[in-house]
């Protein structure tokens, strides 16, 4: 046993010097997460709106978009976004490539969360808004979307715990996010391979927990009687890490 490294405490001590670098790299993952969620949110909302209200042509465009970004593996997308643009004379950083690749991918999933939420707002709400003289667009923005937003929070919690893990795929785009940093550690000292990977795993477990707590806070903050998703709160309490089955 000792020849393979001895007590776990020894690993922790030896990993010590690398920990600041790993944590700094984690910040990059968090930045990437925020970036890709934002890209995904903006485009996801747009795609959902087009699918529900866009008429046949726009709806078809939105469906094709959704199909493309739901079917291509994340890693392939990152490579395409990283190596593709330079061929057209556009240089992108690894971070930007990963943010948009994962962001567009997430937008395809977020669009379905949001579409479902929009469609679960009862039709009477639109009818009541139109009957008092609101235009369709105004009714969508003042009546439908605020309700759909609340209904989609549980879905987002799920999407969040899924994409946070996807950020490690960005190591393929060659910048020092946490998994690539971990690799540098075990390239330097092979005996630390398991220890550093376990450490990375722990980081993501903690991030997921914190993220879900934050989403739970958002959900409570915006809670409105009558607009809850039934049974969701209970499901969350029962599963510690995620509100549902992720895809990651």
């Amino acid at each position: 046993m000792s020849s393979r490294g001895g007590a776990p405490i020894q690993y922790i001590v030896r990993l010590g010097p690398y920990i600041p670098n790993l944590l700094r790299a984690t910040v990059i993952n968090i930045e990437l997460l925020i970036g890709l969620i934002a890209v995904g949110y903006v485009f996801g909302t747009l795609v959902a709106l087009l699918q529900v209200y866009g008429g046949r042509a726009l709806c078809t465009v939105a469906r094709i978009y959704e199909w493309i970004f739901r079917s291509i593996p994340a890693l392939v997308l990152i490579f395409l976004f990283y190596f593709g643009p330079p061929r057209f004379g556009v240089n992108v950083t690894g971070f930007t490539a990963a943010m948009f690749a994962l962001g567009f991918r997430s937008s395809a999933y977020q669009s379905q969360i949001f579409r479902g939420a929009i469609q679960s707002v009862p039709t009477g709400q639109m009818m009541a808004a139109r009957s008092m003289g609101m235009s369709r667009i105004r009714a969508i923005f003042t009546i439908i979307l605020p309700q759909a937003f609340r209904l989609s929070i549980p879905g987002w919690t799920n999407e969040f715990s899924s994409v946070i893990k996807d950020t490690t795929l960005a190591y393929a785009a060659g910048f020092n996010e946490v998994l690539r940093t971990a690799r540098i550690v075990y390239d330097t000292d092979m005996t630390l391979a398991m220890a550093v990977l376990v450490f990375v795993a722990l980081i993501f477990m903690v991030l997921t927990l914190l993220g879900n707590a934050a989403m739970g806070f958002v959900e409570r903050r915006f809670r409105i009687p009558g607009l809850e998703v039934p049974g969701h709160e209970k499901a969350r309490q029962m599963s510690l890490g995620s509100s549902g089955r992720g895809r990651g």
Partner: protein
């Protein structure tokens, strides 16, 4: 003449719902539309403010033809209140929010004035103490009274009521009818689809009996109840009075 409805036709697939309905209303009048279910009463109301476009026929409010394609329908809808059977209060807004959103978003009133106005209208339906409650926290009767206040806050020329008490528990019907009776007495112009014969007897200037998409007979309540020209009218009124009693 405030409202003129002329030869309205509406067909869903092969199902002819309205086959040439015409009538007029003067300012301050209350008219009650009765008839067996599936006769097109609700469809008629929806055709009047174009929530459902009529296939044929024309509608004027004051002297503006609102069935004309170039009419700004949103502007006219703002002048026609609509009270739904299922209330359709905006689920993400409080009672106050529901009542003031029309004045704010459609009439561009500032928030302070809209709030004052909304509180007055809630007071009028006896619910100023529920201003901060969300629809899900209100009883059906209270929700319907809020929805009446929501219509009133737009200072409508006319309010259309689509079976306003049909979704209510019997003990909650009275409070809604009470509000409607007082509105009628204040001179509000109201077109009401209902089975509440007590209400019709008390305040209707005229009862319109519809069956199979046409108006069979219309006249003052007294004449309709005691001296109907058509046998069908008498039969229906008797049956309805038996079933629904004389509440209100």
């Amino acid at each position: 003449m405030l409202l003129r409805v002329e030869d309205i036709h509406k067909q869903y697939g092969k199902d002819k719902v309205l086959c040439g309905v015409s009538f007029t209303m003067n300012k301050g009048e209350t008219k009650v539309i009765i008839g067996p279910s599936g006769t097109g009463k609700s469809t008629l109301l929806r055709c009047i403010n174009r929530l459902t476009p009529a296939d044929q026929g024309r509608v004027w409010l004051d002297d503006e033809e609102l069935t004309h394609t170039r009419t700004n329908i949103n502007k006219i809808r703002a002048e026609i209140g609509f009270v739904f059977q299922s209330f359709n209060l905006f689920a993400h807004l409080t009672a106050l929010g529901n009542v003031r959103i029309g004045p704010m978003k459609v009439k561009r009133m500032n928030k302070k004035d809209a709030t004052t106005l909304a509180m007055e209208e809630l007071e009028r339906v006896g619910l100023s103490d529920k201003a901060g409650a969300y629809p899900a926290e209100l009883s059906g009767g209270q929700q319907q009274r809020v929805s009446i206040a929501r219509a009133l806050a737009m200072f409508p020329k006319l309010i259309l009521f689509d079976e306003p008490t049909s979704a209510l528990d019997p003990e909650l019907i009275g409070e809604v009818l009470e509000v409607m009776v007082s509105l009628a007495k204040e001179g509000m112009t109201m077109l009401v689809v209902t089975h509440e014969m007590g209400f019709a007897r008390a305040v209707a200037d005229e009862i319109i009996f519809m069956e199979n998409g046409v108006i069979v007979e219309q006249g003052p309540p007294k004449q309709m109840f005691t001296n109907a020209k058509h046998q069908r009218t008498g039969e229906f009124l008797n049956k309805i009075s038996e079933l629904y009693g004389e509440t209100g």
